[in-house]
Amino acid sequence: MENRQPQIISGLCAVALGLLLTLSTGSAPVFKVMGWLGAGLELVEKPAVSLRELYLESRGWVREREDILSRLDMLERENDSLFLALHMKEAIDLRESIMSSSIDSMADLRLPLSWWDTIRIDRGGIDGVSPGDPVLQDGFLIGRISSVETSRSWVSLISSSSEMIPVVIRETRDVGVVVGDGLGGLWLRYVSDGSQIKEGMMLDTALIGESIPAGIPVGSLLGETKNDDNGILEYKVLPGGALSKIYGIRIFRRGSDK
């Protein structure tokens, strides 16, 4: 059997020497040796230092990016809220404007031959009505004053083939024109090709010209489309007002608004 006594003694010597060396902790020579060792290893440790700095920089970049993205998200939400608040205010102002400058009226004549084109109402020039004034039913545009008499007026309905109403799609802000087909149907035309139009989107009058104030609801889009004789794509519109049964209406007097 191998004599292990010298090995044990050697091992115990190493341990004892190690323990003795711990007594020198904090002494000036130890600091000096540590300094030399650190300086001597500077070059060897450089790749590790570079790797560490690269990692710290990458982590900082990732954190900064996360922070920027979260701030961007927060700003987008804030922007949406401000946008909504701004347009809510516009809508409320418009509603107040319409309410204060509008009068109620009744349809008193609707000729069968021009059923989808015109109606006559019981308000005229004496009531402050003037040609071009928008006519609303349940808050939706159904036509505009085409001619005015003393106490009567004629309304050209939006279902008339002679009417063209500039509109904006509320959800996408795309602009188009609503035209009547003279048979009770409404169609949206001249919308740009790239529009993401979907069924149910709402149409409001657009601020094009001064004939009709912007923001008056007209109706909503149906899923049906067709091409007219010139190959132009048209979208079927569901009118907000009940064009087939018009009794009580409201006239927005633009003259009084001014």
Binding site: I8, V15, E45, R52
Partner: protein, 151 residues
């Protein structure tokens, strides 16, 4: 080879400085080589001592702390190992012994470095994760040696 692992451990320690402890690659190399080369006991014993002293002077600031731990653990490991007959020195036993030695060394180092610090859990997790891989490599080294022993 021991110097290579000493510098590798130092490299990891610089990289993880302030974040986690580097695994005891050097000590693992000492015990792996020390038991497969039975003729040069003193070389590995004093190698462990000097390596430990190097790490102390570079990192702990307590010269002799790691040196005496490495020396003592190597001595214990070596004498436990030689008590076992050659037929019984299977790789699983080596893995168990080396894990135990590394575990003791790790506990002592962690107590010295991290006692009283609040962020001990991530540092310890990274340390054990890396140590686990180092143990597997040393185990694979011993498996290779064991197959060549023809026991």
């Amino acid at each position: 080879m021991l110097i290579f692992f000493l510098f590798l451990q130092n490299f990891f320690q610089v990289t993880f400085s302030g974040w986690a402890l580097a695994p005891d690659l050097f000590f693992l190399a000492v015990i792996s080589k020390g038991i497969t080369d039975e003729r040069h006991f003193d070389r590995y014993l004093w190698g462990a001592f000097l390596g430990g002293l190097f790490l102390d002077l570079r990192w702990t600031g307590i010269p002799g702390f790691s040196a005496s731990i490495y020396s003592a653990l190597f001595l214990i490991f070596r004498f436990l190992w030689v008590i076992i007959p050659k037929e019984g020195r299977v790789p699983a036993l080596f893995l168990g012994f080396s894990s135990a030695m590394i575990g003791i060394s790790a506990i002592l180092r962690l107590l010295l470095f991290y006692s009283g610090r609040p962020t001990i859990v991530p540092a310890v997790a990274v340390f054990f994760f890396l140590t686990f891989f180092a143990l597997l490599i040393s185990w694979a080294y011993y498996v290779n040696f064991y197959r060549g022993q023809n026991v």
